[in-house]
Symmetry: C2
Subunit: 314 residues, 2 copies
């Protein structure tokens, strides 16, 4: 059987790294780019990584989504704040019977994609990756890289997610198929809600947040609210030991700036709706009070709208 | 009867304005100063105000509290973050049988003063004053100026608070004695907790906070938590109509920077313990959950300790 072809929709620090790994492992990979298009078309991609550095002098680069040949798997690697652009990219980017792999943050980024291509085509993935853009077409993976994959339309293990996971594993990306994508997403929110939210509001990295008694307590309180929401809304059990592990792992991690802090510093849109808004709404719809998560969400919405209004501190 | 003499402990935008008004009305007033001491000793005080501008070319200025002659009333006009300095100022600043008028923010700033001079000497006052320091010895009252006064040790009306209130009223400061100082302090916290806390965390003035749906909702939520804490801790009833009036009055007030926002902008200590810490502790001790007030308090503690550590954004 021919190797699966992939199209990376959004060649940033995440999509660029994973796509380059897949091409290095022998897959046909198409990269959709915007600002870096000309540079990457002419010079390819450069990757720095804890697994070794490499270059791909020639890649299939595209600027216009309508030029994309259909692939077996379209990888959604845009931020959720840019998901609106997917309407022009999908479903033209996938072959009949092909799949869309949604590598986005939040409670259920798959829902929007399902509306474009049909739920049965959608696979969700949670990325645990620290990477950043060094320059045009140049990405550095700093630590972690693993992915958890699951079916969107129906829980359980399938050949499709096993096959995609195997492709990524063969490309040096530790990837694990999971039976319950919804549980996996709530588990990831246990980390994302407190660290992204507080780092953005307080402009502080994870090390500072964990080094202070009050913010560490606030992180834990938010984790408990996410766990309560996961139980009320999804029937999932996320126990105290999971929360303790998240707290102690993060405390050991050293200084790390969550994406939302970086976005705020750079004046970019923050993923507050995907990471905070959707879980808050799910909790409230299930009758579960999440006062602190809701308060942080409201603070983020305020900050986001101040940014959009182009306002400085007032 | 001779007019009461006053000593202003802390000649800033608040103490400087009220003290100048009292001297203008014919009272002997002593002013304790630090940075502006020499300027005020040589040039006196200048006041700009909505009731008219005036100058006091000669004032009794002191730098060392031990030089202060005892007065009938010592007015505590320091921020609560500087209350430690009162141990050297009190009780030397008051005559035998004299009173201390505590014009500070918070749930119970009188408690610390009572420990220094005895509870029976203590009168509490809540100031509703917008004033700022224009330059050395030069203060501008912008709007509001009124004070609510009450006995600390035992609720009720006394000659003492009636007399002090009359002095302030005769000095063009609208002042009202109240029977229940504790209720008055909780009522003031209904405003102070949300606007000071959120303005400092989000660096936004009252107008911006009220103009955005999410922060306006967060303000209201915090007001409801303060009212619940007042009921649980003090047995006070603060009804929905009081909260609605606070919200609508503030929305009409135009842009105003609460003191805690200004303090954060200037790199000065914020009064988080007096305005947020004490009410949170009182609520929790009374078995009343105040999750959002506690979360904002934790954020303020974090920001305050970052400031003390001299850290920039991280």
């Amino acid at each position: 059987m021919a190797k699966r072809s992939y199209t990376i929709l959004g060649t940033g620090a995440l999509g660029g790294y994973y796509g380059a790994r897949l091409q290095q492992a022998g897959h046909t990979v198409r990269f959709l780019l915007r600002g870096d298009y000309e540079h990457v078309r002419d010079h390819g991609l450069r990757i720095a990584s804890m697994h070794g550095d490499f270059e791909l002098p020639e890649v299939e680069a595209f600027r216009d989504p309508t030029d994309l040949p259909p692939s077996d798997v379209a990888v959604v690697a845009l931020k959720t704040t840019q998901s609106g652009a997917l309407a022009d990219m999908l479903p033209v980017a996938i072959k009949p019977g092909g799949a869309v792999l949604v590598l986005q943050n939040g409670l259920c980024p798959e829902r929007y994609v399902a509306g474009l291509v049909g739920a049965e085509r959608v696979v969700g993935g949670l990325c645990f990756l620290c990477s950043n853009r060094v320059g045009p077409g140049h990405f550095r993976q700093v630590r972690f890289d693993h992915i958890r994959l699951g079916e969107y339309a129906r829980p359980g293990m399938t050949e499709r997610i096993a096959g995609i996971a195997a492709d990524f594993c063969a490309a040096s990306v530790q990837t694990e198929p999971v039976e319950d994508l919804s549980l996996a997403r709530w588990q990831k929110l246990v980390w994302n809600v407190p660290y992204n939210g507080l780092s953005a509001v307080l402009d502080a990295d994870t090390e500072r947040l964990m080094a202070h008694t009050d913010t560490a307590a606030l992180v834990e309180k938010l984790m408990q609210e996410v766990a309560a929401a996961a139980r009320a809304s999804g029937g999932h059990t996320i126990g105290a030991s999971f929360i303790e592990k998240m707290l102690s792992n993060t405390a050991k991690m050293g200084p790390y700036r969550p994406s939302m802090q970086v976005d705020r510093q750079m004046g970019r849109a923050m993923e507050a709706e995907a990471i905070h808004g959707d879980p808050v709404r799910a909790a409230i719809a299930a009758g579960c009070a999440v006062p602190v998560m809701q308060a942080v969400y409201r603070q983020l919405r305020f900050l986001e709208d101040q940014r959009e209004a182009g306002a400085g501190p007032g």
